[in-house]
């Protein structure tokens, strides 16, 4: 005989509007073994929690059912109430009548009927719940940060400053990410390098940060508190321990590669550092551009290197790093606008994407900060197209959030550096952020022309060779516009990195339909993921500007810290176990487990489960032909009893 308490939450009107909560509590009271059933306005509030705690004592409850929001929302909250009242926390059942009932119907009859069925199922299951003991594990105090753009750099520095050891992994040969490519940042027009490069240097100098450039994560094993992460060090062909960064090699190298940092606008050497302030300041060889690797002879760099640091025989190597928590901050790519044929990107030399223009403004860029076209002319008229691929159901539905503001910044810089007429083709001007609206107003005053209408097409001018004609509908006047310009700037959608799906798979992250990583909860857990101990920051989660990215990085660092400051951590007790009396030693469980948790104990002649490795999916239980495996908290009996309860009403 159980003594079950049922607590029905109104959630204000969120539930009470489409479920008759008092009727539900009265119904609960009629069910066998239910000794107390109550409804209350906000069960998660302090008085609500106290009510449950008091009733556990007063009615000597041994099972508690909270009929409220999703267990993903407040299961932990109510488990704590049980634990504080001396009841095992696994003797709790949550019935989800908000997300899965009251919010998905307008009909109070339907809502109440469904709630009764769900509650009946939970009461059936609750009788069979067993107390479970959480596993306590040791926590590795170190953290890994994946991606060393501004988000990763900031998170790594914060953690390192608290005394934690941080492994900062970056797949490129330098840290800095996209922010290192910018000249100015909106709305303050701070010099990007001036605020970023000191941080890059701090990373290099920090005794608690192990910087791993030209590195990629290839395997992630383990679980929160105890990850074993394999990192591949890609061959640089330069021994960075020997190199003294004299860069004599980069002067002599005859090879030509495409400068990624300059967005392909210029060539760089085959042995190179990506940009003068790169961290580390040591060169790498681009195999695909190196004369020696292509033709089998050259090795000029080797001849000039006094340190004997060049090593053409270098191979990729792998190391395994142990950490307690991980922050993923892998950033973004711009959408490839070539397939949008109407804009002629890649076909007309006068059409640029936003990152290319960032490089044109930059004094360390291909033109030394002068705005000149690919043919060397200074543009007389410039059109900036907002929302290319963003807010577009054919491409990306989301607003990329930063394009309006950087387009305004471009307009300002064009006005500063050229005498060109500047036209903004926008759909809506989105200037939500501190100082952003003010910046917009400032640019309006700068004689920039605003045309409310999305840029529709770019074509070559028939009359003036080398010029472009842009077409758009001005939605304010209703007129169709054709305008001759010299330069078109596309502001493309921000999308996750091309390899974000691989990262998601490695770290077990969920993604949205475009590949942005999903947060655990959009409001209450924006930096946590469904994988315990893995946190996200920056644009890999969704498009955002630098201030928001940095704020997230601080947050993610704090989140990671909440794990690695502890010596011990409690893990879910919902693992599987084998009943040796019924095990038929078929080894199905050993074969199917993704984590290698079940093993065959030859002495006893039965399978056993290594609880430290078990993640509680229950796969082994459902392939066990003799039902010898018990998936704790989701046993056959518990699931079947719940089903019976659900089908009764």
């Amino acid at each position: 005989m159980s003594r079950i308490g049922v607590f029905v939450c109104h959630c204000g009107l969120n539930i009470a509007k489409t479920v008759r909560v008092s009727e539900l509590a009265e119904f609960a009271a009629t069910l066998p073994d239910v000794v107390v059933a109550k409804d209350y306005k906000f069960m998660c509030s302090t008085p609500g929690q106290e009510m449950i705690a008091n009733d556990i004592k007063e009615h000597r409850l041994d099972r508690v059912i909270v009929t409220a929001c999703s267990p993903l929302m407040h299961e932990q909250t109510f488990r704590k109430v049980l634990a504080a009242s001396g009841l095992n926390q696994y003797l709790l059942s949550i019935v989800n009548i908000r997300e899965q009932v009251s919010w998905v119907t307008h009909d109070i009859e339907e809502g109440t009927a469904k709630s009764k069925a769900l509650l009946n199922g939970a009461v059936n299951r609750a009788r069979l719940l067993a107390p479970l003991t959480s596993r306590v594990i040791d926590v590795n105090p170190d953290v890994m940060v994946v991606g060393a753009g501004i988000a990763g750099i900031q998170a790594a520095l914060e953690l390192a400053n608290t005394g934690k050891k941080v492994y900062l992994v970056e797949k490129n040969s330098t840290i800095g990410g996209h922010m290192a490519q910018f000249d100015k940042t909106f709305p303050t027009l701070d010099c990007s390098a001036c605020i970023l490069t000191p941080k890059m240097d701090n990373v290099l100098q920090h005794k608690n940060i192990t910087l791993m450039t030209s590195c990629e994560v290839t395997e992630v094993k383990g679980f929160v508190g105890n990850f074993d992460i394999t990192v591949k060090q890609k061959a640089r062909y330069v021994d960075h321990d020997k190199c003294n960064a004299c860069l004599a090699c980069t002067e002599k190298c005859p090879g030509k590669g495409v400068s990624e940092w300059d967005e392909g606008l210029v060539k760089r050497k085959a042995i190179y550092i990506p940009f003068p302030q790169a961290v580390p300041q040591k060169p790498v060889i681009d195999r695909d551009a190196c004369t020696y690797f292509i033709k089998g002879k050259c090795r000029l760099c080797e001849k000039v290197c006094e340190q004997k640091a060049i090593d053409f025989e270098q191979q990729d190597t792998s190391t395994t790093v142990k950490v307690g928590a991980v922050i993923v901050a892998t950033g973004y790519d711009l959408m490839d606008t070539k397939p949008l044929l109407q804009y002629g990107y890649g076909r007309y030399p006068g059409v640029y994407n936003a990152l290319e223009v960032e490089r044109l403004f930059n004094s360390a860029g291909p033109t030394g900060g002068k705005v000149t076209l690919r043919d060397g002319r200074e543009p007389q008229a410039i059109a900036i197209f907002h929302c290319i691929g963003s807010r577009d159901k054919n491409n990306y539905e989301h607003c990329s959030r930063v394009c309006c503001m950087y387009s305004l910044k471009f307009a300002h810089l064009f006005k500063e550096k050229t005498s060109a007429d500047v036209y903004q083709f926008y759909i809506d001007m989105r200037a939500a952020g501190k100082g952003y609206e003010e910046f917009y107003n400032r640019i309006i005053e700068e004689d920039v022309k605003f045309i409310r209408g999305k840029g529709a097409r770019v074509a070559e001018s028939a009359d003036e060779p080398g010029r472009l004609i842009v077409e758009a509908e001005d939605t304010i006047t209703g007129k169709f516009i054709k305008l001759p310009v010299d330069m078109v700037v596309l502001s493309p959608a921000m999308k996750p990195r091309a390899d974000s799906k691989d990262i998601a798979r490695l770290f077990n992250l969920s993604t949205d339909k475009y590949g942005f990583f999903m947060e655990r909860h959009p409001k209450l857990a924006p930096l946590s993921t469904m994988s315990e101990g893995i946190f996200i920051a920056g644009v890999c989660q969704s498009p955002k500007d630098i201030p928001d990215t940095v704020a997230q990085a601080y947050g993610a660092a704090a989140e990671a810290l909440t794990i690695v400051v502890k010596d011990k951590l409690e893990l879910e007790a919902t693992t599987a176990m084998v009943n040796p009396a019924s095990c038929c030693a078929c080894l199905n469980c050993v074969r199917v487990c993704p984590y290698g948790a079940p093993f065959f104990n030859e002495q006893k002649g039965v399978s056993e489960i290594n609880e430290a490795l078990c993640k509680g999916c229950g796969l082994c239980a459902s392939v066990c032909p003799s039902s010898a495996i018990i998936a704790r908290h989701f046993t056959n009996d518990q699931v079947l009893a719940e089903m019976e309860g659900l089908m009764e009403f």
Binding site: S70, N508, S510, L619, A631
Partner: protein
């Protein structure tokens, strides 16, 4: 009175259950005939659960898991996919009308898809009428 079927749903915690929560958070409306059991992974589902549901009088059973390749437990749903495909064949071989049992991959971000699938499946079950082949009268 029109026929209101009882549909049992079994959803994995990480994808479909979370997707169902998202459908709620975004206030999408769908029929209330579905009652969901939460399991940690679709691979937890023993075929006997499905048979039992039909014995208990379920007019339809809907299983939801992560997209193949995106399983929270790496490969769990690949086992589920194979096993449930066989389950479906056995059910139909045993005389159950095709269309009463459905498996869908619905991710945590696909609240829309969850609502659409439930709406469409409920409509389909209504058209099929009450399930009598497996039901054991209590």
């Amino acid at each position: 009175m029109s026929f209101e079927p009882k549909i049992l749903g079994i959803a994995c915690n990480w994808c479909t259950y979370t997707g169902a929560d998202l459908a709620g958070t975004t206030r999408l409306q769908y029929p209330q005939n579905l009652r969901v059991v939460r399991v940690m992974c679709s691979s937890r589902i023993n075929p006997s659960f499905i048979f039992r549901a039909f014995q208990l009088g379920a007019d339809g059973v809907l299983v939801g898991g992560c997209h193949p390749g995106d399983c929270h437990y790496n490969t769990g749903n690949l086992y589920a996919r194979r096993r449930l495909a066989v389950t479906k064949k056995i059910l139909e071989f045993s005389g159950l009308e095709p269309g009463r049992f459905r498996v869908e991959w619905i991710s945590a971000s696909e609240g829309n898809k969850f609502a659409e699938v439930v709406t469409e499946f409920t409509e389909q079950i209504k058209n099929l009428g009450p399930q009598t082949k497996f039901k054991i009268e209590q």
